[in-house]
């Protein structure tokens, strides 16, 4: 169990790179029930002005919190999680896409022993999530 008093604002608590392929998008579509074809058909993605198939925003949100889930041990300690979707993650059919997530202590709420962990998720050296914050209780 993570000791609240051991944390300092700015500490990097976890970092991980996730490799996404089209297979991952199909699997997420089935698991989530989001069958929007822009997540598996290039022709449809291009017809609505996208360069090609992109990852579900909710897949990026879902994987980005996993390093925090592992760091804190029990995902039930997550009391609040929010993101803004700022850029798409384009998943090439042959080479896929890499998303690198860095989790940093953003704020420490002493009275409730809740730590706010800020996530940076990057694809092609650009952030794809904004205001990505996970609040975890360490009480």
């Amino acid at each position: 169990m993570v000791d609240f008093s051991s944390l300092t604002k700015g500490d990097v608590v976890a970092e991980e790179t996730f490799h996404l392929t089209r297979d991952n998008l199909v699997r997420y579509a089935g698991a989530s029930g989001d069958f929007n074809p822009i997540h598996y058909r290039d022709d449809i993605a291009q017809s609505v002005g996208l360069p090609g198939v992109l990852a579900h925003g909710m897949l990026t949100m879902g994987l980005a919190v996993q390093p925090v889930s592992n760091w804190v041990g029990d995902p039930a300690r997550i009391v609040d999680y929010q993101v803004r979707f700022t850029r798409p993650v384009l998943v090439d059919g042959a080479t896929g896409a890499d998303v690198t997530v860095t989790a940093t202590v953003g704020a420490l709420e002493e009275d409730t022993q809740i730590a706010r962990i800020d996530l940076t998720a990057k694809y092609n050296d650009e952030t794809v999530l904004g205001k990505a914050q996970v609040r975890v209780t360490l009480a």
Partner: protein, 149 residues
């Protein structure tokens, strides 16, 4: 077609109960690339103090989906689905979802705004268990792009 501003404040009927199954939690956990044992292994979840497998943090989206379908199907909503982009998402928990939970979601449209030719709709889905006790609120902000794009 513009989004109907009178949607703001509208409360929808509760969705049919959703029974959370172990295999659905495992399937969703694999899909979001979880490796956390409490998402897969009942013994690990019980050892951590839970009644059964724990769902990943973004799992409520599975339950929330039925409420967003209600919103898009509302005859006077004026929402063109082909122009909808997911802008923001938030989950605020009272407790984690575990296998065996029977969950019901109630949608409230908390805000409809117009911004630079686009419309932004914020939809709050309050998810409660079979006892009616709050589990999590899933909040989606949808951006409906204007005709000029």
């Amino acid at each position: 077609m513009a989004v109907n501003p009178e949607l703001q404040g509208r409360v929808f009927p509760p969705t049919a109960p959703y029974l959370v199954g172990r295999e659905k939690i495992r399937e969703f956990s694999r899909a979001v690339l979880s490796t956390n044992p409490v998402n897969f292994d009942v013994d690990a979840a019980v050892a951590a103090g839970h009644a059964d497998l724990v769902a990943p943090a973004t799992f409520p989206v599975v339950v929330q989906e039925a409420t967003l379908a209600q919103l898009l199907a509302e005859p006077d909503a004026g929402i063109d689905f082909s122009r909808v982009v997911h802008g923001e998402q938030r989950f605020t928990y009272t407790r984690a979802i575990v296998a065996g939970d029977e969950l019901t979601a109630t949608l409230t449209v908390s805000s409809v705004k117009s911004l630079g030719g686009h419309n932004m709709i914020t939809a709050d889905s309050d998810i409660v268990d079979a006892q009616g006790t709050h589990v999590v609120t899933a909040i989606s902000t949808l951006v409906v792009r204007g005709d000029e794009d």
